[in-house]
Amino acid sequence: MSIKMSAIHDKIGQFPRELEDESIYIMREVAAQFERPALLFSGGKDSITLVRLAQKAFFPGKIPFPLVHIDTGHNFPETIEFRDWLAKETGAELIVRYVQDSIDQGKAKEESGKYASRNVLQTVTLLDTIEEFKFDACIGGARRDEEKARAKERIFSVRDDFGQWDAKRQRPELFDMLNGRISVGENVRVFPISNWTELDVWNYIKEEKMEIPSIYFAHQRQVIQRDGMLWADSEHLNKEADEIPFETTVRFRTVGDMTCTAAVSSHAVDIDVIIEEILSAEISERGARIDDKRSEAAMEKRKQQGYF
């Protein structure tokens, strides 16, 4: 623990600028190599970082591709509000498609039980959206430090017609050369912040003085206790009889759906405190994502099926 605590103050505010240069380079390659790229926007800090990088890559020009949001209907209202503000602020085109529509069309089936979420269902809507707009490249905010299967992901990750990822057929990526050539029907998922860690993202947000949704900071909220974690109470959460909501001060470390993102007890009201919390945290970021906990190989399985 001693190394970690003394390291906290050395690490704060030290963002390796090389990472930004690398990511901007990737953004420009996407714009140059593909005909119809899109940026998948979730409202979380990683995709907000992507928007910032895209803005910088093409300045003084506008972002030359749309922001696409797959709305599960279970988003935090604060996220939606922020999304609309950011699109207006950057002048980027915003495309929203709804998981509810996929359910209504009978293409996806709502899960049941106390862990029901729409996290898996959004893949259906995403693939339909890709087809609707004929997107050939989708930029996502995944990072290799998040999870083991992600650690092996390429920057340009080729997917087949069904959006599937084949770990054994990945193209080698050498030096900084990116090969985005694809056949008809294939598309590419692009991960410009592959080499960033959670801490890098937070340090960047701080150095760039970026706006982020308010739920990242400590606030009062009705929650329930489940599996040793705090869950935001909402109409979408299937509660058991003994799960009684109570109010406490929390913040979110990652922003997914209300049904699959746990809150942490926190009094962090500004970004410096958030960074200190991360450096001394005992639980990793994806540890607060219930969707990954289903099994050790959960992420890899979802990726094979087209999850980004």
């Binding site: 090389e18 901007i24 380079y25 290799r144 650690a151 092996k152 050498l174 801490l199 890899e300």
Partner: protein, 416 residues
């Protein structure tokens, strides 16, 4: 804060994943929930200790077979720097992944099993580290616990290793040798109590003190144009900016430049990074450059200093290649050649040599190059590429070959 990129290599079962797991564990880079997951996974395997290798062996197939089959990127940081480890597999058939993982590395970490000593893979890894001009090699003699931490055993292996190194190394490369035990954390981040006879650095000590002099900024100036920024708005009506990442050298406002391959000249008017104007920019920086007069520049063109007389422009040249595809490279075939961001057609006119990297010998009169083989080829491109010799300016001297029909990246080349 700088970033040090490391590539690890080793044969199957020499404990590479355990070494990386150990580094993460001892630098407090693993959170409590991950350690708990590790504890339960280790227990399921019937082990009574933490199996640190499980931290990086990520894919389902790997967990089943207990081997690493693809490049995994692992991150940790100390107050000194951020580290990115490309963990590459040791199986012979996955040499292509090793080259891939090593392509961005400044340090090559090679493992040798203290009981086995040098094996065929050791020579292969040393050769690849040299082919890729990796400036620092750290050879860890691992599993010292299984040879009772004997100094004589280490000395014997080191002696043989240095003979091998003398055949592969190049001027400017430094090589160090460390006795370690990943399983028991000896000499990883802490001095080895069981090897008091060893006076050198720990592994982390070697990494923390390695200075990779910024030779890149002093190399010839090369700026490949990636994207032309033309906002065409009221405020920026006539604006034309050339966006890209400087591959080597330094550019300053006021520098006279030349565009390749067209040969046109101009002067740098501004160097911009988002809303900031800079006086100069160096290798690795993503910038937008504007010029004092309107000339025709498009994606794939390269900007160099006008004062340079020896211009990088190649159409007929030779190169070393490492073949990455199951379908062999055969002479006469046409591929797409991508140098940086510039893509042009290329014909392989001849395969002149095949290297046996484990014996340091070569064969001539080669029919084809198979997956994982390294050879020397002659080739001709449709358009000239603005590449330097790899040994002189590595960041502007490599290229990839792409199969026109499968679109796969099938080879990587290093200009001779």
């Amino acid at each position: 804060m700088d970033i040090l990129r490391i590539a690890t290599a080793g044969s199957v079962d020499d404990g590479k994943s355990t070494l990386i797991g150990r580094l993460l564990y001892e630098t407090n880079s693993i959170t409590k929930d991950k350690i708990e997951a590790l504890e339960s996974a280790s227990k399921r395997k019937g082990l009574n200790f933490l199996d640190l290798s499980l931290l990086t062996d990520g894919l389902i197939a790997e967990r089943e077979q207990g081997i690493t089959i693809d490049v995994a990127n692992i991150y940790f940081s100390t107050p000194t720097r951020k580290y990115i480890i490309a963990d590459t597999p040791g199986h012979i058939e996955y040499t292509r992944n090793m080259v891939t993982g090593a392509s961005n590395a400044k340090v090559s970490l090679i493992l040798v099993d203290a009981r086995q000593g040098i094996v065929e893979q050791t020579a292969r890894h040393l050769s690849i580290a040299s082919l890729l001009r990796i400036p620092k090699v750290i050879i860890c003699v691992n599993k010292m616990d299984l040879v009772q931490y004997e100094e004589s055993k280490f000395n014997e292996i080191q002696h043989k290793l240095s003979e091998l190194v003398s055949k592969t190394t190049f001027k400017g490369q430094t090589v160090s040798y460390l006795p370690i035990s990943s399983l028991f954390g000896q000499n990883i981040t802490k001095k080895a109590l069981d090897m008091p006879w060893f006076n050198g650095n720990t592994l982390l000590g070697e990494l923390e003190t390695f200075e990779f002099a910024e030779t890149l900024a002093q190399a010839p100036a090369r700026f490949p144009v990636q994207f032309v920024v033309r906002p065409m708005t009221e405020a920026y009506h006539d604006y034309r900016g050339y966006a890209g990442k400087i591959s080597s050298g330094t550019f300053k406002v006021g520098d006279e430049i030349r565009v390749l391959p067209t040969g046109q000249t101009s002067t740098i008017a501004t160097i911009e990074k988002f809303e900031n104007s800079l006086e100069q920019a160096i290798a690795g920086e993503s910038i937008v450059m504007t010029l004092s007069n309107d000339i025709d520049i498009s994606r794939g063109n390269s900007i160099v200093l006008a004062s340079e007389t020896d211009l990088p422009s190649l159409k007929d040249f030779s190169a070393h290649v490492c073949w990455l595809d199951h379908q062999a490279l055969s002479p006469g075939k046409t591929y797409l050649l991508q140098h940086g961001i510039h893509v042009t057609k290329a014909k392989i006119t001849q395969i002149t040599e095949r290297l046996d990297v484990t014996q340091q010998t070569s064969t001539t009169e080669v029919g084809q190059l198979n997956l994982n083989e390294i050879g020397k080829i002659s080739l001709r491109t449709a358009q000239a590429i603005s590449a330097d010799k790899y040994a002189e300016n590595p960041s502007n001297g490599s290229f990839i070959l792409i199969d026109e029909f499968s679109n796969s990246t099938v080879g990587v080349g290093f200009v001779d």
